[in-house]
Symmetry: C2
Subunit: 196 residues, 2 copies
């Protein structure tokens, strides 16, 4: 209908968000227009600000407003250890543990040949350049333990080892606090193989 063009355009643009179908998009549009017009304004401004300000760290590839992100600029971090993660969210999860004091490289994705995501899309060239700076000695590949994450780890490890770097992977095993009875078979099998 010609008198609801702006509403339809809003629904269509909300559908570009991952995981949002036509019904969710309609619900979001109705909610914003009916109950939270201020929220819609805030969101519009936040989108424009984020596009204008956020870029990739020249060192680790994560999102930052600066040339080099806060973690890469921190002189207290051990520059000889480089941890490779898929996303900033994975990096945040590792940081919350407080167990890693090295630096990071954020792939911003994972290899996925079906969706056409190749080595170039996950910044593999940038990672290899970063890892061969002469300071990095160990690369810890902390991609997820999913099919794509494992494939990505395999490809990265091959390329990194070929350049003479020590490449490690996060240990797989039984999660802390869990009972064996309720742990899946694949995890137990891995924990047996990697026993120490």
């Amino acid at each position: 209908m010609s008198d609801t063009h702006a509403l339809e355009a809003l629904v269509q643009s909300l559908r570009r968000l991952p995981g949002v179908g036509v019904r969710s998009a309609q619900r979001m549009a109705f909610h914003l227009l009916q109950h939270d017009r201020e929220g819609a304004q805030v969101l519009a401004r936040a989108l424009q600000e984020a596009i204008a300000r956020m870029r990739h760290c020249s060192q680790c590839n994560t999102f930052t407003e600066a040339e080099v992100c806060a973690t890469c600029s921190d002189p207290r971090r051990d520059a000889s250890k480089l941890c490779v993660v898929e996303t900033p969210a994975d990096q945040a999860a590792l940081e919350r543990t407080g167990a890693f004091k090295g630096r990071y490289f954020v792939l911003m994705g994972k290899l996925n040949p079906i969706d056409g995501v190749g080595p170039r899309d996950i910044g593999m060239h940038k990672l290899l350049e970063r890892a061969t700076d002469g300071v990095v000695q160990e690369v810890i590949v902390a991609t997820n333990f999913t099919a794509e994450g494992e494939a990505t780890a395999h490809v990265l490890a091959q390329a990194l080892k070929a350049r003479g770097l020590l490449v490690t992977r996060l240990a797989r095993g039984v999660p802390a606090g869990s009972e064996l009875e309720y742990v899946d078979l694949g995890t137990i099998a891995h924990a047996l193989v990697d026993r120490r």
Copy 2:
């Protein structure tokens, strides 16, 4: 972190969308910044356009860019029948059937005392004014058959009947094309009571 302020503000504003938690909001923000900056621009503009243009039809309360919406302006629609629905999506569902040629009133919500949604929030005053224009003879209450939709229908029907209007409700019964064996008991019971 101070160097990711714009990203965090974006995540926070995405969380204001209904059904979006912190993880979905992060995933949306990463997706837009990494893969669809044009989509972020389009969404920002669509939000501002929708806020600026969309208002409520003075007749039926639905969203429109005009003073009176397309349905209310259509002289071929029967002004003696007024169908009350919760949302524009419900109105669209009824319109797709082609079975109703009257006019609409869109509540833009439903009564929900727990969430503090009272008669004023669903435009009950505007509905009563609209329904007592001397032309409307029958009000078809087509709120949803949920607990809140039924409660809303009950309250509206009482107020409308008190003003001498004929008030009807959509028939409940067995959905078209369904087999009794797979229909829930409540629906079969209603279909028995309302048999014709």
